[in-house]
Amino acid sequence: MRKSIVVVFLLAGLLLSACGAAGETGTLSITGSTTVQPLAEKLAESFMSSNPDVQIDVQGGGSSVGVKAAGEGTSDIGMASREVKAEELAQFKNMQVHVIARDGIAIVVNPENSVNDLSLDQIRDIFSGKIVNWSEVGGADAAITVVAREEGSGTRDAFMEMVMGKDALILDNAILQSSNGAVRTVVSTTPNAIAFLSFGYLDESTKALSIGGAAPTEENASSGVYPVVRPLNLLTDGAPEGLVKAFLDFVLSADGQAMVREEGYIPVK
């Protein structure tokens, strides 16, 4: 019964707010990186439960979507799991970058895969297509299925910079997906698959490998032992004010940073 009353109210509210707006107090839109997305959703839920008049919409699309949406103003806050590039800063001169956490990038395989550890060189060779069979790195005799993200992905950008280096490219044959979640789904259902995945998405459906002996844990990422870590950023058009500032303050507060750790990311403090 309560639900249908809520529905009627919302319908009425919708009709009444026909010219409703991004400028109203009480609504916040957060768009971009699928790495930051689960974290942003949890933070938003917490913020909304302490501020019941606020509505926060979180959606994905990738880091480049986040940069563009924040810069153009189609979203109040953008999420990015990489640095904002020089060209983007030149295009969006008012953009401000707020680091809210750090995140490791894991190399994941299907849980049935017998391999547990790879060196950075081996990973680079697999993703560039030099190594094509699991037997070459100590696994079963099976062709390697590489899964990667599309070019707008911050995770991919960070991976390219930190693992592939300037010259190597990800092989053309990789299966491309548009989000961390989609990558995880493919790897968990495809034997012999390998992919890079945000730490925040690690669960029993995939197996994360150690890199050169460094296990993919938060301590190792924090201390620098695990080599592939990048900043998670929230982007705003100009200095944050009002609701945007309130939310950002919450994210960077002790409570917010505690949630960051809970979700599997590394707090900035």
């Binding site: 299925t145 044959n173 299966i175």
Partner: protein
């Protein structure tokens, strides 16, 4: 009376505006998309866009040849799988099925038409891809042209079947009776009289099917792998080209539109223009084919 006439005039103007709006929308869509694609065409030329295989926006490469081949191949494969089934079912429904069986098969076809594309995509991901992956070819991930073509074939089948059935039913009874009177069997009548007579309707059905296949997006993203490669055989057997991953023109647009800007965005509009041109070519060739065969028949 004067008042009523004024109302009449006012109404007529309103309706005129409504009609004009449909043209305005079409023209806006055209202008917008073509204009947005111009920077990419100016920068790379038609050869540079349509003739290049490398699509790496970060490096400034915007070749869409691989996507053109991907779209064309998956559509052709879907036609090969789906058209015989569709036309056979159409003939079955129009000429052979008893009423009771018609009452089962026709609603079944209708329902197939109504199932949303994402449901087909989901089914493809969960059932087809693992099934195709069982084919023991190195590098076969299950994602690729074959899975996508099967899904697409099921999606275009209802369209082709219903319109073809209508076309066959529209052939005047006199043709059938004359053919049978001359001693032809029912089968001969169907294939040598009814199908040729219903040709324009069947071709229209095929055009619609091809248009639907070329335009399908979401189901393709879910099962085709989205790799920007020219489909090629996976090993020595040339047939394994059908197991290759690919990316369609539609998939290209959907996956990258949200964050593309500048030249990259323009290249996506160019992809839209190419898609549109492809569908136009199919329409025009089909009409030309029909006109020529009607002319020669007369």
């Amino acid at each position: 009376m004067q008042n009523k006439l004024q109302v009449d005039k006012a109404v007529r103007t309103v309706l005129l505006i409504s009609a004009s709006l449909s043209i305005v929308i079409v023209i806006s869509i055209f202008i917008f998309i073509f204009r947005s694609s111009l920077p990419a065409f100016k920068e790379f030329g038609v050869q540079g866009l349509l003739g290049e295989l490398t699509w790496r926006p970060a490096n400034g490469s915007f070749g869409i040849l691989a996507m053109i081949v991907g779209s064309v191949m998956v559509t052709l494969m879907a036609l090969v799988i789906g058209v015989p089934l569709a036309i056979a079912t159409a003939i079955f429904l129009a000429e052979i099925a008893p009423r009771g069986v018609q009452a089962v098969v026709r609603p079944a076809v209708q329902l197939l038409a109504g199932i949303p594309s994402v449901v087909y995509g989901l089914f493809g991901m969960v059932v087809l891809v693992p099934l195709i992956r069982r084919i023991p070819v190195a590098g076969n991930s299950g994602y690729g042209l074959l899975s996508a073509a099967i899904v697409l074939a099921v999606m275009i089948l209802p369209t082709i079947t219903s319109i073809s059935e209508d076309a066959i039913r529209a052939v005047p009874r006199a043709y059938t009776e004359a053919s049978l009177a001359l001693g032809a069997t029912h089968l001969q009548t169907i294939f040598q009289v009814l199908l040729p007579a219903g040709k324009s309707g069947i071709v229209a059905a095929l055009i619609l099917g091809i248009g639907r296949a070329l335009g399908e997006t979401m189901a393709m993203i879910m099962v085709i792998g989205n790799s920007v490669i020219l489909p090629a055989p996976l090993d020595d057997n040339p047939l394994t080209v059908f197991l290759s991953q690919a990316r369609t023109l539609t998939g290209n647009i959907a996956v990258e539109i949200n964050y593309a800007s500048g030249l990259h965005a323009s290249a996506l509009f160019a992809t839209g223009v190419v898609l549109f041109m492809l569908i136009m070519i199919v329409n025009v060739s089909a009409h030309a084919f029909l006109n020529r065969s009607n002319a020669s028949a007369n």
